[in-house]
Symmetry: C2
Subunit: 184 residues, 2 copies
DNA sequence: TTTGGTATTATTACTTGCTTATAAAAATAG
DNA sequence: CTATTTTTATAAGCAAGTAATAATACCAAA
């Protein structure tokens, strides 16, 4: 009986901390109606660090993630680049990128990978996207690895015509034609 | 002379903390070759909170930002929604969204606002983007406020045809036609 | 019923990274 | 040289812990 209670409590502890990780042991003890010591033993068993460590970890992790998402000039990892001609990037679909309910990747991530690859591939110091023609062929799910290939089809004046095709492991999932204009 | 030294030290302190905000007073004292007490007086004068508060603040802020950027179902603030018919969202262009050099908003943010609005507006429990036709008319810069308006033009079976037009304060900057397929 | 092991709670000493308050020393300006 | 500012030192206290040890409580099986 006691063992079952313990298991349940520890599950509840994990869940609670998952939802609100900023709680102290004291608050957790009040929530689960046990002593602070019990909470500490549970944390020890479950390998959950103390509040301050948790906060610190979150701050560090969130910072790097923010950088990756918000300020990285290329979404996805650039693995091949022939400037002015073609490029390849890969992007792993992580939990942040999918819709909660369906686990389907949100469209703008797939778009972002393609668009930033297109931007990277054209041989210009700065450029903006003018027109895009896009087709999402099948939906992409959590855990898949997307490989985007970009090709500069032609260049006319300051305009670049870039095609991007994105595949998962087995098939083509996305296709886009961009017309990019270089500035300067 | 001393006053100048103090000013300089406090500037250096601010800069150091800006770059590496995870330093303790002790480490800062060693870095600036003064006593820990001096660092504390400086922090007091400059209104800089202690390490733990800084970390906590970063964790909280980064978390909300991450949520906003990565897992918010709508990029931009939804200010009007007539389900199945139309919707409006606004998005302020913040420093994270622009390219370092040019301060021009990266295309995928504008796309993301439009796409997530289109998703929000269609009256379906879950949907994926099938095809998009996009035109970036002029480039968007740091500080501008984007207003996206979506309209469901027609519905055929499980397919929705949604048009989105985005304006800044003065003119239309972006236009997209999406064909979304609802799932269930 | 007693014995034994797990689970829980309590107690105490110690840690980090501070705050607050007070005082002393050093540096500098006038 | 004195008054003021700046810097350093000292001591007490706090939050949220860890680590170690001991004392109960509980339940289960011999």
């Amino acid at each position: 009986m006691a063992r079952i209670q313990k298991k349940i409590r520890q599950e509840r502890l994990k869940e609670k901390l998952h939802n609100s990780p900023f709680l102290t042991d004291e608050e957790l003890a009040a929530f689960l109606v046990v002593s602070v010591q019990t909470i500490r033993l549970d944390r020890l068993e479950l390998g959950i660090p103390e509040l301050r460590e948790r906060i610190k970890f979150m701050a560090e992790e969130a910072q790097t993630k923010l950088k990756a998402i918000a300020s990285g000039d290329v979404i996805g990892e650039l693995i091949d680049l022939d400037l002015g001609k073609s490029g390849i990037s890969i992007l792993a679909v992580t939990p942040e990128m999918v819709l909660e309910k369906t686990k389907v990747a949100r469209a703008h991530y797939i778009y972002a990978q393609a668009n930033s690859l297109a931007l990277a591939v054209i041989d210009a110091p700065a450029a903006v996207t003018g027109v895009a023609n896009i087709k999402y062929k099948i939906s992409v799910h959590l855990g898949e690895k997307l490989v985007a290939k970009a090709e500069v089809m032609k260049k006319r004046g300051n305009k670049y015509f870039v095609w991007v095709k994105t595949r998962n492991e087995t098939q083509e999932v996305f296709r886009a034609k961009f017309i990019m204009a270089s500035l300067d």
